[in-house]
Every structure is written in C-alpha cells, then in structure tokens.
C-alpha cells in the first residue's frame, strides 16, 4: 500500500502528527501494534504544563500550550484549566518562584497565606508558591483518539524499515513519501543509535473526592529531586481529575524495564505525597500502575530528520502530552517549507551525531 506519510505510533505524538498532516491535505497512515494512546500516553498524568529546565524546553512547552488552547476538545478529553501550582517549601525554593515568575507570563506569586487559601490540604510550614493559571490537565488517551478520528490506523508493528517506507508485521509493505517514527521509548528497536532510554514511572489514583484538591500541585524540589539524572527519585506531584479522583505521582528510574510495580518505590512516592499533603493518607487508592517515558540525555525531544525520508518525533520524556502539538507543528512547517514559530535546531536529532 502507498501513502504520503507513514506514522509509526498511535500515541499522542503520532496522533498530533496525523491530525496536523491531514489538515494540510496529506494522506496519512498510522501503524500501531497495540492501542491508540495505550503507551506512555495512557500511563502519564496528562498535564499540559510550561516548563523551563532549558530555554528550548520553555519555548517548546509554551508554544505547545498555546496550540492546545486553540483546540476545541470534546468533553471526553476532560480538559480543565486547573493551573499548575509550584509549591515552595523554603526560602531557597521561593527564590526559584521569583525566577520562574519572570519567565511565565500571567503567573502569580503566592505567599504562605495565599498558598493555603489556594490549597488548604497542604501541610503547614511551607513557604509559598507560583500559580501558573494557563496550564491544564486532560485525559490523553481520548485526546489521541480524537486527534486520530479521521486517520486510518493499521494495527501492526513495523517489522523492518525499507528505503521507501516499511514492512509491517502482518506482511504488508507500505511505501510512503515520508516515514515518521513516533513510537516513544520503543523507537530504539528500529533505530538503536538514538540516545533514548526508557525512564520508568509509577502513579496511583484514588476514588472520588470532589473538592479535595484544586490545582495541579508540583513541588519545586522537583527540579532537584526528579529532573536530576540520578538513578531513582520521587517527587510530590498531584492532580485533581474532573471525576474528583486524585492522581498521585511521581517516580523516575532508569534501568528497570519491567512494567511491574516496585512496592518500595511506590511507597516512597506516596510518603512524599503524604509529607506535603497529610490527609491524602485517608483516601482510598483504587489503582496503581507504571509507564515508561522516553528520556534523552539533554531532556529535549528528538524532532526532525534522520534521513530525507525518515524523520523521528520521540524522546519527549514526561512532557509528551504537552509538546505533542508543538512537535507536529514543527515537522509540518519543515515539510511545507514554512518558517517555524520557534527555532527547531535544539530538537534536531543530529545534535547527538
């Protein structure tokens, strides 16, 4: 079979690509061995968040968040503009609040009193925080399905890349003008030279407690504890779902590729959450699970060509939901020869060549 663009992966990134390319009239085919939005897309928190670990990360997340806000999503995507509340435990973290405030438009510095007014369940003794009202949460598997609603999907794996497309596990050969691999951490099966490693995470979700939590809360220590590249870390990161459920994260670890729950790490993550928000311990946990982020050495995704006809869009680590739309826009601009909204160079795969 033939297509203009063959997209490998029906996660949020592949879905965003398909939606963008289709909108320009291109003929797309998505191949997916498992389910729409069934990998990291389903495992993650669905947080659309502006982050500033690096200028390039800030540019891509801010651009992508604008693109999300331009979409009129259906109700089952459960998008809510909860806003992110970065929680500062001490004076050192309040300095970080001030720094972020300068970078994040429309953000608001909260002192101790304002912090407890915003989130009364936080433990006493915290210093304050930064409220970023434009951030949102959404249910990513349904977002992926919605983005893919007009695109044909073939449920098969890519057995082998060919000079003009791919041979699929079901025996089909697809020839395509352009092939884009958007298969997250699984991409190294096809392109082992890419510096992408799976970084495992745990999450837990509670029964429904409407009104318990109002914003997506993230500890500012997150930068110290989770975004470092140490082998194993946990951070306080909780999110109110539109159902009233509380989603509790997060953990990060390299070198464990089993999807099984690591009970000790799960407990460590939950203790961190209870440390910030003591009454969480009374809530009923109904489910826990793990997922794999596709991590790169510089925490920036790989977006761009490997060869003329083989492009990649992977390595989004914990920000794939947020940056999926920006990723798709950058690649579409490249295909059409249009000037990109943000400089694409920091994300080009050949930076690691």
């Amino acid at each position: 079979m033939t297509t203009d663009v063959l997209i490998a992966g029906a996660g949020i990134v592949g879905a965003a690509l398909a939606a963008a390319f289709r909108a320009e009239g291109g003929k797309c085919l998505v191949v997916e061995p498992d389910l729409v939005g069934g990998g990291a897309t389903a495992a993650g928190m669905g947080h659309v968040v502006v982050m500033d670990d690096s200028p390039a990360q800030l540019a891509l997340t801010a651009y992508s968040r604008r693109l999300w806000d331009n979409l009129d999503l259906p109700p089952n995507v459960e998008r809510e503009h909860r806003g992110t509340l970065w929680v500062a435990a001490d004076a050192e973290e309040m300095a970080e609040v001030a720094r972020k405030h300068a970078l994040f438009p429309a953000s608001e510095i909260l002192d101790e009193r304002a912090l407890y007014a915003a989130e009364p369940e936080l433990r006493p003794g915290l210093a304050g925080g930064l409220l970023v009202p434009g951030d949102s949460v959404l249910y990513a598997p349904c977002a992926a399905a919605w983005l893919l609603r007009l695109t044909p999907i073939r449920y098969a794996a890519i057995a082998e890349l060919t000079p003009d497309g791919a041979r699929l596990s079901d025996g089909t050969t697809v020839s395509a003008g352009l092939t884009i691999l958007a298969c997250g951490a699984g991409i190294t099966r096809l392109l082992p030279q890419l510096p992408i490693k799976p970084r495992k995470g745990h999450l837990a979700i509670t029964d429904r407690y409407p009104g318990f939590l109002h914003h997506q809360l993230v500890e500012l220590g997150y930068l110290k504890s989770a975004h470092g590249h140490s082998a194993e870390s946990v951070a306080f990161n909780v999110q109110p779902r539109s159902t009233g459920q509380i989603l509790i994260g997060s953990s990060r670890q390299y070198g464990d590729e089993s999807p099984d729950i690591r009970p000790e790490l799960l407990s460590r993550m939950l203790r961190r959450a209870v440390d910030y928000m003591p009454r969480l311990k009374d809530l009923q946990v109904i489910r826990t699970w793990t997922g794999f982020r596709a991590a790169t050495p510089d925490s920036l995704p790989l977006i761009g060509p490997v060869t003329d006809r083989l492009w990649v869009a992977a390595g989004h680590e914990g920000l794939g939901i947020t940056t999926s739309l920006g990723t798709a826009a950058l690649l579409l601009d490249r295909l059409l020869g249009d000037p990109p909204a943000i400089p694409p160079e920091p994300y080009l795969p050949d930076r690691f060549a």
Binding site: D207, R208, Y209, D282, Q284
Partner: protein, 77 residues
Amino acid sequence: MIPVTVNGTPLTVPPGTTVAAAVMRIQPAFRRSVTGESRGPLCGMGICMECRVTLNGHPHERSCQLLCAAGMEITTP
C-alpha cells in the same frame, strides 16, 4: 443491641449485624452512581463496591464488610 445512626436516624441492631444490613433496614439505596442513579449492594462480599457509605466521616467504606459498632454514624448521599 448496638446503637448506630443511619443518616441521623437512630437504630439499634443485634451484634454481628453488618453496616450494609443496618442501612437496608432503613432504606434500599446506598449511593448515587456517577450519573446519579440510586444504587444498593450487589455482591454482599466486598467486591462490587456498590454498598460504599460514609462511616464516621470517612467516605467510600464498604459497608457489607464491616460490622456495626456502638455509636457508628453511617451516612449515604
């Protein structure tokens, strides 16, 4: 006999009575489903979660698996 309250209504039950049985003495419905339907116990063995009540202020307790104790305050939405 053990005194409890169900939505504020005082009630005494014999020892060994489950919280679910105490509620059913007063009313058939235990909870509102997520779309607002009235629901009552189904499995009676702690699996289906339809019999969840608020017990002494703690929501989502499985009433069929718990025995009544003196002074328990049982509430249903």
